[in-house]
């Protein structure tokens, strides 16, 4: 059967509308099956050119004068990202790390619910999110409710990943938001595993607060900044817990008091890395150009094909079979996951991702992953486990 699936992989690649986007990326090893774009996206060719331009023309050539246009980068990249996640202009800023941005929004949400003393989070959610929540609760003497489906009546804010980083299961954002709103709680959505690969629609879901990362499916580069989203309806109530000068509406006035920007720019903190933001902008623009609807459709097709291959060779996967209930990766469960992931890379030129204790993640990044890569990855894994 896997032979027939190999033929089909080639057919699917041949019919793929997005196939030529792979040419926009640096391919140093054509035989590498890179199935880890959900941890670090590949390098856009344009990013090489752009980084050279930033280094030589803007930093070395323009020196301090370049800040005139750099200063707006967090908002400009945010506005470019906004349509990919169903946000409006002024609702998204790209800055700092997901962890810092999450900490800010948790503090801001708590300040909006001063009579509530509980933060809810799924105990299986991404570790950094859990640690951030625990640290804030310790600092402020609050309770953390660790529950995948918590009672919300006394919860100030719930933190929830849109896509589970292990299983790729999607949480329904509209349902989750409505349920929290009915209970008087706020929700912060973490879009780290959905931005740039799913058709996220924050506006339609009624979402008010979100964060996410840009170094995975958005190909922004290693450690590229996270983003913060605040709905226009809510932003006037957001008090920034870390109010740095970039959040000030007139930062170079250097006046006595902090006066926040009217929109999401109030969440900016200190001086952002221009090098990081310049690369992020390229990655975001590439996905926007390709079209998030086509990108999301290819993600569904790639993950469907991955699941089909897994089923064919008898590999166990916790990833949902409903294409609209899963993100851009497929996980395989195996007790030897760590060792298998290592051997995939060293013996088969297949790069996947181990997640403790027993998962091998196969990331399907639509602008760079080929169906033949998926097939080869699963076939290699099957060979190692048989």
């Amino acid at each position: 059967m896997m032979d027939q699936l190999a033929d089909r992989a080639r057919e699917l690649d041949g019919a793929d509308q997005l196939a030529t986007w792979r040419d926009e990326f640096v391919i140093t090893d054509p035989d590498l099956a890179y199935l880890d774009g959900n941890s670090l996206g590949m390098t856009p060719r344009r990013s090489l050119d752009r980084m050279r331009e930033v280094m030589e023309s803007e930093w070395a050539g323009g020196l301090i004068g370049s800040w005139e246009h750099w200063v707006d980068l967090p908002a400009r990249v945010g506005d470019a990202l906004a349509p990919l996640i169903g946000a409006e202009p002024g609702e998204v800023v790209v800055h700092d790390s997901v962890s810092v941005n999450l900490a800010q929004l948790v503090h801001a949400a708590l300040a909006m619910r001063p009579d509530r003393r509980v933060i809810a989070i799924d105990p299986a959610d991404f570790p950094s999110d859990r640690y951030i929540v625990d640290g804030i609760a310790r600092t402020l003497g609050l309770e953390v409710r660790r529950d995948a489906d918590p009672v919300l009546d006394d919860v100030a804010v719930m933190v929830r990943s849109h896509v589970d980083y292990r299983t790729a299961e999607v949480t329904d954002m509209a349902v989750g938001t409505a349920r929290a709103t009915a209970a008087g709680a706020l929700v912060i959505w973490d879009l780290s595993h959905s931005a740039g690969v799913l058709e996220v629609d924050l506006g339609a879901a009624g979402a008010e607060l979100a964060v996410g990362c840009t170094y995975k499916f958005l190909n922004g580069g290693p450690g590229s900044p996270g983003f913060s989203y605040v709905s226009t309806d809510l932003v006037g109530q957001v008090e920034q817990p870390i109010q740095g000068w970039f959040g000030h509406r007139d930062q170079f006035a250097m006046g006595p008091d902090f006066e926040p920007h009217a929109d999401a720019r109030r969440l900016l903190i200190g001086t952002p890395s221009v090098l990081a933001l310049a690369a992020t902008a390229v990655g975001v623009d590439l996905t926007a150009e390709a079209g998030i609807d086509l990108v999301a459709a290819k993600a569904r097709a790639l993950t469907a094909f991955a699941l089909e291959c897994c089923q064919d060779v008898g590999l166990d996967s916790p990833t949902p079979t409903d294409p609209f209930r899963r993100g851009g990766h497929v996980s395989v469960r195996h007790p030897d996951a760590r060792e298998l992931t290592r051997r995939l890379a060293t013996e088969h030129r297949v790069v996947a991702d181990f997640r403790t204790p027993d998962l091998i993640r196969l990331g399907c990044s639509p602008l760079t992953t080929r169906f033949v890569d998926v097939h080869r990855g699963v076939a290699a894994l099957a060979g190692l486990t048989n």
Copy 2:
């Protein structure tokens, strides 16, 4: 007199032991007098090569595997920076922005003084530092004591810039620390205007907490990350307020609880920008290679010469005349400072820095600033004001 000073500028450049270090930087306009290295240092040539290597070999070539060595960058660059500021290995990490890092240390200091409810800061200190302090006080319901020389008996933590960003006046760190310690208060020193240009000695001063930036005298690039310093004696007591996964001693275990690193790495938060850190490393290494003692001596010589030129042409400066009481810039006070700064750039190819309401800052960055630049800057300013 200014003619004789011009001759002397050439003599001083001829005798300057650090003169050849300017060749390590990209010079796109040899006639530009760039006196703004205290806002954004120039571009090291090695940074161009290093950034190309990071983009092409490490990101594009190594992909996710490169995180094996990237993951230690915040600590490695911190250890390279440590000797420049009198810190020990493991006491400094380079990460996030100065504002975020300051917010972390303020929270950590407050947690160490739970019975005190006052944060002290000079009302003339750098705006972002003041705003950060105000935001934390608002969040936690604390008092901010805005006083350049505050009573400290009930103060939990005082935030203080080592070098005043306007006048360049140095605060004696040992005296300030001793005074605070005697009163039971902690001090967080902001070294943004002293790291990489003065012989800072945190250890000898008994300093326990500090932050600073790397994009000024350390030539780390636009918006390069800040740093955090915690003395080895104190670090065990530091509870991280924003406990992201990079602060975890075993981050990929992804366990239920946050277990901090034993050293300053506990202050790391989310995934750091590799591009930003790679450029920062180059800048830090250049200053270390040149030798901070020579760098600091040249800073004193450059600023002494700048003050002499100012005096010669009758320009008013609030910068201390004692060479050990001033940082790496000289300020000129003039009611038309904003317009004069603009005209220096457009009419004379002299880049200085306006600081509201009436200061023109002339930055003397020892690896790149020539004595002739200083002379030409002051002469041009004199011409515009006569």
